[in-house]
C-alpha cells in the first residue's frame, strides 16, 4: 500500500518509489490503468498548455504576465482528480493548472489568456481569474488568499442544500499567512463544512522562503488549530496526492468535516514567467536540476513503465494527443476575435440590473 501521508524533511529528495515491480492497488487492473492515464493526461495538459504559454510570451502574443504551475502538476492534478466534476474548486494567481485539472476546455482557457471573446470569461478575467462554472471551477483569485472564504462558502452552500458536493480550496504557502485562512478554517471546522483545504507549498512566496514566513515547519500542522486532520504529502508524487486528497474528499462527503492537505512541491520557473528579480534568492543551478530530479511527469512516467501500468507507446500516444489538443487550443485562441468594446460595461451587474440604464 502506498504511503499517502509523509512528512518531508528534505526538500531536495523525491519521495517516490519507482522501482517496485507491482503497481499499488490504485493503479492495478483496467481501472488502475484508466486512472493512471487520466492523471498523466491532465498533468501533460497543464505542462504542454503552459509550455505553449511560454512560446506565446516570447512571441509577444500574451497581453500580460503569467504565473506557471510547471513543476507543480502532480499536486494540482492529484487533488482535482480526487474530486468530481460537480464538486467546487477555487484557486489562486498560479492559475492555469487548477481549471485544466478540474476538466475545463483548453481552447476557452487559452482564448482567455489572449483576451479573446471566446475566452472562458469572455476576455474579462485573463490568466489570473480563470473560472469555468460548468466544471465547478468558481474562480482563481489574483489576490493571494482571497478565494479561501469563497470555497468555504461553497462548502456551506453544499451543506445547507444537502447536495453532497465538496469544495476544494487551493492556496499557497504565502497565503497560509493570510488572515482569511484562519477565519475560514475556523468556520469550516466549527460547522463541519465539506471543504478540503489544499496547500501547494512550493517553498517560496515570490522570494520569501517558508522558513522565513511560516511559524511552523509544515502548513499541515495548522490543521490542529481548527479541529481538522492535516497531512503533508510529497507533491511530486501524483498518486500520493490523489490518495491523500481522496481520503479528505470522502471524509468531507460523509459529512465529517474539512481537512487540510499540504503538498510539498517545486516551482520550476520564476514567480511570474519572465520576471527578473534584482537579487537572486535561490540557486539557479539547483532550480535547473529539478527538471532532471523532481519533475512530476517524468517521475510518474518512469513509474508507470517500471510497474508496467502503461507502455512507452501508450504514454507517447497520450502525450501526442494532448500536444494536438494544446496546438488546436492555441490556434482557436489566435483565430478568435477580441470582445466588442461595449463588453467592458456588461456583467458588472446581473442582466436587467445595470445602474447605467437608470442613469440614462
Amino acid at each position: 500500500m502506498l504511503t499517502t501521508a509523509t512528512h518531508l524533511d528534505d526538500r531536495g529528495q523525491a519521495m517516490t518509489d519507482g522501482t517496485a515491480a507491482d503497481p499499488p492497488p490504485e493503479l492495478d487492473g483496467p481501472d488502475g490503468a484508466a486512472l493512471a492515464r487520466e492523471l498523466m493526461r491532465r498533468m501533460q495538459r497543464v505542462r504542454l498548455f503552459e509550455e505553449a504559454t511560454i512560446a506565446l510570451f516570447h512571441a509577444g502574443e500574451l497581453p500580460a504576465m503569467v504565473h506557471l504551475s510547471i513543476g507543480q502538476e502532480a499536486a494540482v492534478v492529484g487533488a482535482c482528480l480526487a474530486t468530481r466534476t460537480s464538486d467546487y474548486m477555487t484557486g489562486n494567481h498560479r492559475s492555469h493548472g487548477h481549471p485544466i485539472a478540474k476538466g475545463a476546455r483548453l481552447d476557452a482557457l487559452m482564448a482567455e489568456l489572449l483576451g479573446k471573446a471566446t475566452g472562458v470569461c469572455g476576455g474579462k478575467g485573463g490568466s489570473m481569474h480563470l473560472a469555468d462554472f460548468s466544471v465547478g471551477s468558481l474562480g482563481e483569485s489574483g489576490i493571494v488568499g482571497s478565494a479561501i472564504p469563497v470555497a468555504t462558502g461553497a462548502g456551506l452552500a453544499a451543506q445547507v442544500r444537502g447536495t453532497g458536493q465538496v469544495a476544494l480550496c487551493f492556496f499557497g504557502d504565502g497565503a497560509a499567512s493570510e488572515g482569511v485562512l484562519h477565519e475560514s478554517m475556523n468556520m469550516a471546522g466549527l460547522w463541519d463544512l465539506p471543504v478540503v483545504y489544499f496547500c501547494e507549498n512550493n517553498g517560496f512566496a515570490v522570494s520569501v522562503t517558508t522558513e522565513e514566513s511560516l511559524s511552523v515547519p509544515d502548513v499541515a500542522m495548522r490543521a490542529a488549530g481548527y479541529g481538522m486532520p492535516g497531512v503533508t504529502v510529497d507533491g511530486q508524487d501524483v498518486l500520493a496526492v490523489y490518495c491523500a486528497t481522496r481520503e479528505a474528499v470522502e471524509r468531507a462527503r460523509r459529512g465529517e468535516g474539512p481537512s487540510l492537505v499540504e503538498a510539498k512541491t517545486y516551482r520550476f520557473h520564476e514567480h511570474a514567467y519572465g520576471l527578473v528579480l534584482p537579487r537572486p534568492y535561490r540557486d539557479q543551478a539547483v532550480v535547473d536540476s529539478w527538471f532532471d530530479t523532481v519533475d512530476p511527469i517524468t517521475l510518474f512516467h518512469d513509474r508507470l513503465l517500471a510497474e508496467r501500468v502503461l507502455t512507452a507507446g501508450e504514454l507517447q500516444a497520450l502525450r501526442d494527443e494532448v500536444g494536438a489538443e494544446v496546438e488546436a487550443a492555441v490556434e482557436f485562441a489566435r483565430r478568435s476575435p477580441y470582445p466588442p468594446p461595449e463588453a467592458a460595461w456588461t456583467d458588472v451587474y446581473a442582466p436587467g440590473h445595470d445602474p447605467q440604464e437608470v442613469s440614462a
Binding site: 481569474h129 473560472a131 462554472f133 468558481l138 472564504p149 469563497v150 461553497a154 466549527l190 451587474y349
Partner: protein, 338 residues
C-alpha cells in the same frame, strides 16, 4: 431633535420601527425562498433586535451565529451565493466593514464581472450607522460612499420603516450584492414614518427615489437621517415663504438620477444632506452630477451639508456639532438661494 412624523403621530398600533421592519422582511423572504439564509453575530440571542424568532422558525442550518470574522463572513457569503444560496449577513455595526474590505471588493463586487457573468451573487449585507450616540471613533462610521466607488455593489439607505421593509425584501430578491446601511438614529424608534403596510408583497424597487415634500424653490436631497433633517428644514423655511422640494434617494446605487435631475431643472437650486464624511461623500457625487447635467438650469451654488472631515469624538460636548443638523440645512438653503 424631533421629527415631523413624531409630531404627527399616526395610529400607534400600526407604527413599526426599523427593527420590526427588518425582522419582517427577513422572515417573509426566508419563508418564501428556502435558499435564503441568515448569518450574523449574536443572532441566537437577538442582541441587536433584528432576528427575533428566526432561529426557532428556520433552524440552525439557515440561521447561523458567525464567529468574529468579518472578512471570512463576507467571503463565505459570496461563495455560498455562487453555489446557490441567498445569504443575508448581519454585520451589525457599519464600522466593521473595514475588516472585510478585500472580500467586499475583490470577491463580492468583482466575481460576476471577472468571470464573464458566470457568477451570481445574491448577497445582502446589513450594517447599522451607529453615530450620534457616544460610540466614538470605532463604531460611528458612515462608510457607504466608499462602496459607491466600487462597481458591482448596490447600496440602499432607507429612512422609514416601510421603505426599509420594501427595500430589504427587494434586496433579498435581487441577484446582485446589496449593502443595506441602516441609520441607527432611526433604527429602534417607533413613530417614524407612515404605518406599516400589511402586504407581504410590499416591495420598494431599488433605484427609485421618494419625493418627501413637493416644492418649487429649491431641491433638498436628503440621505438616511438627512432626509428627515431636510423635511424639518423645509417646514422651517416654509414659514419664510421658501417652498423646498425634499427628495430621499433611498437607493444610492443605482441612483434615481431622473427624479433628482428633473427636480433641480425645475427648481434651479440644490442642497444635499448626507451624514457621511464630506470628501467624496454621496453628496459630492450628487452635487457633481447635478452640476454636470443641470448647469444651465442652476441659479445658485450646489451646497453640501455633510459630516465634517474629522473623526467622531467621544465627548457629548464635541460630537453633535460635526454632523448635519436642521440649522445647517436651513443655512445651506439660504446660501443656495442667495
Amino acid at each position: 431633535m424631533s421629527a415631523p412624523a413624531a409630531r404627527r403621530k399616526p395610529a400607534r398600533a400600526q407604527q413599526l420601527g426599523f427593527l420590526q421592519a427588518i425582522n419582517r422582511a427577513q422572515h417573509e423572504e426566508m419563508t418564501r425562498d428556502g435558499s435564503v439564509v441568515l448569518m450574523g453575530q449574536d443572532l441566537r440571542a437577538n442582541v441587536f433586535g433584528a432576528a427575533a424568532g428566526a432561529l426557532e422558525a428556520f433552524g440552525p442550518s439557515r440561521v447561523r451565529d458567525l464567529p468574529l470574522a468579518e472578512a471570512g463572513s463576507i467571503g463565505v457569503a459570496a461563495g455560498a451565493a455562487m453555489a446557490g444560496l441567498r445569504p443575508i449577513v448581519d454585520l451589525t455595526v457599519a464600522s466593521f466593514v473595514f475588516g472585510a474590505m478585500d472580500q467586499f471588493v475583490s470577491q463580492l463586487a468583482k466575481a460576476r464581472y471577472m468571470f464573464g457573468g458566470q457568477a451570481t451573487l445574491p448577497v445582502v449585507v446589513r450594517a447599522a450607522l451607529y453615530y450620534q450616540g457616544g460610540t466614538a471613533g470605532h463604531h460611528a462610521d458612515r462608510p457607504y460612499p466608499m462602496f459607491m466607488n466600487v462597481p458591482g455593489l448596490k447600496i440602499i439607505v432607507p429612512s422609514t420603516a416601510p421603505d426599509l421593509l420594501g427595500l430589504l425584501k427587494s434586496a433579498i430578491r435581487d441577484d446582485n450584492p446589496v449593502l443595506c446601511f441602516e441609520d441607527a438614529n432611526l433604527w429602534g424608534r417607533k413613530g417614524r414614518g407612515p404605518a406599516m403596510p400589511e402586504d407581504v408583497e410590499h416591495l420598494v424597487p431599488l433605484g427609485s427615489a421618494a419625493v418627501r415634500r413637493p416644492g418649487s424653490d429649491v431641491t433638498i436631497v436628503g440621505i438616511g437621517l438627512g432626509s428627515w433633517l431636510a423635511q424639518q428644514a423645509a417646514e422651517e423655511l416654509a414659514a419664510d415663504g421658501v417652498d423646498a422640494e425634499v427628495i430621499d434617494p433611498r437607493t444610492l446605487v443605482p441612483m434615481d438620477w431622473p427624479t433628482i435631475l428633473a427636480s433641480v431643472r425645475r427648481t434651479g437650486r440644490c442642497v444635499v444632506v448626507d451624514p457621511a464624511n464630506r470628501t467624496c461623500s454621496a453628496a459630492s457625487e450628487i452635487a457633481a452630477r447635478v452640476v454636470e447635467d443641470c448647469f444651465d438650469a442652476l441659479r445658485g451654488p450646489v451646497v453640501r451639508v455633510t459630516t465634517d472631515d474629522t473623526h467622531v469624538p467621544f465627548s457629548p460636548a464635541l460630537e453633535k456639532q460635526i454632523y448635519p443638523t436642521q440649522a445647517k440645512v436651513v443655512a445651506a438653503v439660504r446660501r443656495a438661494l442667495a
